[in-house]
Amino acid sequence: MTTIPYAPSGAEALLDRLRRRRRIALAIPALLLVYLGYVVLAFDIPGLAQRARMENAAILLSDFLSHKVHVTRDNRSGAVSAAVEGEAKGRYPDGSYPDWVRVQGAVTTIDLGAGHVVTYDPAGARYVVPGYGTIDIAPEGGGLRLTAPLPLPDWISATDNRVSVTTAQGRFAYTRAKVETFRYFPGWELFFFTLDSPFHGKGPLELAGLVLWGERVDPARANIAAMAGDFWFNPMWRHGDVAWAIFETMLMAILGTFGAAVLSLPLAFLAARGVNPLGPARFALRRVFDFVRGVDGLIWTIILSRAWGPGPMTGALAILITDMGSFGKTFSEAVENIDEKQVEGIRSTGANGVQRARFGMLPQILPVLLSQVLYALESNTRSATVVGAIVGGGIGLLLTQAIQTQKDWEEVCYYMVLIVLMVMAMDSLSGWLRRKLIKGA
């Protein structure tokens, strides 16, 4: 009679496995921590704190949501002007000023609120800061003479040629050539109408009244047409151009995605086993797809923009080529994974190759393809922004231009909001189409 020996080795082996697993479970987080530590050093994150310019962040955040009005006096001619953001397109018409600026002869009084008052007069300029005193500046000889309570606080910076004061109410700068005061206001300036439009400064009810029963402001046009025109061609925000840019970006995404889908479908069939009996041809086609994907959108974008120059068509073609690589691969995998029975059935009726593909294969893979194409559409809307920044088209171009000027941050904020809304809209559109077209998805 044989005995069945009690085998402790089985339990031992199990425990061993558990122990090994535990070691691995501890080793992976440890490795990740070591790697992250290496990256912290490699990216010089400790040094980042010094390089970071936090005052830029403050400027950016306040500019995102506020604007300033410049009140400037040319010290040579004595002319005083007011302009939103100091830009020519935001200038108040000659002889008119915002209601917090009073010009009486050669004396200009600027009320910055909370008791802060700036006065320009022929002797120079004065800034009264409550709780501190009066900062008086007068040109003298070749430089400026500053009279202010001592010691000077750090929000006043003074040299022989320039005095600047920064308070919570605004900024003030005096040089020999001009004296300038900035007052900050919350919100985006002149978003609907610029100062030269007759509709500027009117409330929504007043505008509605003008549309419905008001006198024509411009006898040649109905009020609503004039309003739409002034809004659309607003020189500060260029709503018309921005709308075009958004349209161009969406056009790039749509043309690129659907163009790639249409062109790669036949190629995908040719690269699939079961359709194309020629092994070498299949292999070659697949390597072409791999190559196109490997070269990457960035390089395609560069090559194409050398041939066609900047613009949305170049961007669309770049997206098209990049996507053809990935669609070709996934589509041909989908074709290889179909159920052969349906193709057999079609073949038994004497159908030729194209008919077998159309009636035997396409109905099976169509839901998969459509769902992939629609997912790609959403992600390509985002890529089109980046591609646009490189090829110079669409909202990506406007965004990079606005960022490069380093002062129009409110426009950057506006474009960012628009881009996010555009991507979300495309996302819902593609989700809606997916649900409509693909049952059960």
Binding site: L32, Y35, L36, V39, A42, F43, D44, I45, L48, R51, A52, R53, M54, N56, L60, E248, L251, I254, L255, F258, G259, V262, D290, R293, G294, V295, D296, G297, L298, I299, I302, I303, L304, R306, A307, W308, G309, P310, G311, P312, M313, T314, A316, R382, S383, T385, V386, A389, I390, G393, L399, T400, I403, V412, M416, I419, V420, V423, M424, D427
Partner: protein, 292 residues
């Protein structure tokens, strides 16, 4: 029965004499709709292309013969200086490593963050069910912001370098993976979670021991796919100023003729890296999906 369904008048009944006619009519109608839809699609694509071409600097046909000019120019010059290529590739290996590091770190941080985020936005698993709606909107917003927007703003604050790109890609990865992970977690079996709850496990313990083992293969598979995408994104962000190999490529391109060997060396590095990571991620994803 037919009388009940279609009424007693003979004209409204299907003609029993030709049984195929109704079917053929239905097929014809379907084809007509399909055809109309196709024509509409083709027409809108064509007109869209014409609009795009009109707003482009050069027309499609004008540029077509110039398509190979630039690659040919670059390749001939690089071929003449082919002896430099290995050296140049070695010189740029450092910036390639930076690009890979950006992609790896942002994928890693994104996966960890998205793992937590996805559990918080999954019905039945969430720690605070009332916050699901809000957190989902946050996830949508994170996903919708293109990386370039965040990167460019951060470059203004932090200066050029890899960190803006890393943060930008991480934020986007959080949004994308948060959504995908949550779709996976929705299908997880809740019985282990209930079992753990019955012995008094905390939320973190329930998730770690009850949910993560179930979803790990699918999560990893999505994470690998994301790594591939993030590598490309990190190269592109370099091109707009965020360090790494993309930045070197931009510098070499701006130099123009005379530096094309550098362009080709960078291109080769980028190409090889993308292909290798593509292959590895493909291989591992196949294994993960087959294993589950």
């Amino acid at each position: 029965m037919v009388d009940i369904a279609f009424g007693p008048e003979p004209g409204k009944r299907p003609d029993a004499g030709t049984p195929g006619a109704a079917y053929l009519a239905a097929t014809r109608r379907k084809r007509l709709y399909g055809g109309v839809l196709f024509v509409f699609f083709a027409a809108s694509m064509a007109s869209g292309f014409l609009v795009a071409q009109e707003r482009n600097a050069g027309g499609f046909l004008d540029g077509l013969h110039r398509l190979d000019d630039f690659p040919a120019e670059v390749l001939t010059e690089a071929w003449d200086k082919r002896a430099n290529l290995p050296g140049l590739m070695w010189q740029n290996a450092g910036s390639l490593l930076e690009t890979i590091n950006i992609a790896l770190v942002s994928t890693l941080l994104g996966v960890i963050g998205a793992g937590v985020l996805s559990l918080l936005i999954t019905r039945g698993l969430a720690r605070w069910p009332r916050l699901i709606g809000l957190l989902r909107r946050v996830t949508d917003a994170l996903r919708a912001i293109p990386e370039i927007v965040i990167a460019l703003v951060l470059i203004y604050i932090l200066g050029g370098g890899p960190v803006p790109a890393m943060i930008a890609i991480t934020i986007h990865t959080l949004g994308v993976l948060g959504k995908l992970f949550s779709e996976v977690a929705e299908n997880a079996d809740l019985r282990p979670v209930e079992g753990l709850a019955s012995v008094g496990a905390t939320w973190a313990q329930r998730m770690w021991f009850g949910v993560i083992p179930q979803v790990a293969p699918n999560w990893l598979s999505y994470a690998l796919l994301r790594l591939e995408i993030n590598l490309r994104a990190s190269a592109i962000l370099g091109f707009v100023g965020a360090g790494g190999i993309g930045y070197e490529l931009k510098i070499a391109m701006q130099w123009g003729g005379g530096r094309y060997d550098q362009v080709v060396a960078i291109f080769l590095l980028l190409f090889l890296t993308i292909v290798v990571i593509d292959r590895l991620s493909d291989h591992w994803r196949h294994r993960l999906v087959k294993g589950s």
